[in-house]
Symmetry: C2
Subunit: 257 residues, 2 copies
Amino acid sequence: MTPPDLRATFRRGELVRPTAGMAPGFVQANLVILPRELAFDFLVFTQRNPKPCPLLEVVEAGSAEPRLMAPGADLRTDLPRYRVYRDGTLVDEPTDLTPLWTNDLVSFLIGCSFTFESALVEAGLPVRHVEQCTNVPMFITSIPTVPAGAFHGPMVVSMRPIPAGQVVRAVQVTSRFPAVHGAPIHIGDPAAIGIRDIAKPDLGDPVEIRAGEVPVFWACGVTPQAVAMASKPRLMLTHAPGHMFITDRRDAEFAVL
Amino acid sequence: MTPPDLRATFRRGELVRPTAGMAPGFVQANLVILPRELAFDFLVFTQRNPKPCPLLEVVEAGSAEPRLMAPGADLRTDLPRYRVYRDGTLVDEPTDLTPLWTNDLVSFLIGCSFTFESALVEAGLPVRHVEQCTNVPMFITSIPTVPAGAFHGPMVVSMRPIPAGQVVRAVQVTSRFPAVHGAPIHIGDPAAIGIRDIAKPDLGDPVEIRAGEVPVFWACGVTPQAVAMASKPRLMLTHAPGHMFITDRRDAEFAVL
């Protein structure tokens, strides 16, 4: 299915599952929606934290159409599942944001590492959660983000087990995609970044780490949700982790070199 | 002289000239300062126009200290020369912004292509305006920027003549530095991007183009000044073209791969 087909399927509520592996070759995006009065601080936050929050598009206040990444799409309905955070607490996981929409809301699309998974596969690297048809494992780390105005909190990472002999290649392949988190943030020992149990992700699903494989961690676009829990904005609407916005833009457009 | 030495010299008003070639290996930056109520729109503008406006830092409203790029520096005094635009008109070119400072001003540092000139020189490529000890030639093009809120206008480019056989290398070398404009925006025919006379830059100084050399154009951080002229914000304070803010950060920190 093409990105517009997939978005239409989500809009009709016919498919509610993580989007990893869908529409290979097309950019997937994290979604953050905030009231206008918090939008400037959040925009500065993304600028100061480009690894977890590489910004793909900022949509005009009140509009739900991401005209640069997917003209004609509707961010209120075209993702499989959403999350609603009020004062830092997750209060709902709806499949449609239309009932919550107001004209002062500003939407941000942030790059997602699902985008570079096609490139990893093409380079002969395993992507375990796609092989296992589960959601990518995500962990809240001890790495602080750089605060900006009202926003502060810990960085979230996604983890992929990579055979030791291919870790360098994984760094090289993903370095080409800074707009979707780019190079890993950490290689190896989970404890070094505050992860206590690699088998128990804070979000998403656990995946098998085989003998000879090293856990490799990439900054994750779920970071704003951990930041919402820490800094408690009155309202933040997001995608549900792993349930991304699938854009019409190709990965290759965002590659450097 | 180190970056702090140079900034102190500018602060004392002892040196007022373009900064190309100074403090090789350190990042130089364009400066844009706007009232708080225009800052969000401008921040979105930079996100939509990453080639001319790669954002290095946003400083808290009221503060003139760029804590990420040069802790302890003062953006009101530490550049050799500034420009003051009121309602889209250039009204002054002071060497000190202190008398104009108010607590609602938000400062933006934008990457400058002077940063990658060290890398060009190391790769054996000529940088003619540095050889000639003049300012880089800059041109207002017919390429429109992507509008955002109150901001719209044409892209400004800088031009460097490159021997035809080394143009590919110039693309490769500068592609490594997306944070300071990155790869060229155009190679060859000036008329194709609306430049009528390559010998008469709109800003900066003309440089010699020798037989066998091709004019190569990079997006330029003076673009916000052309945008100010077109979109007429009530106030925009900037550096004077070529008279950049010299930061404490090294070029190599901003290289991809």
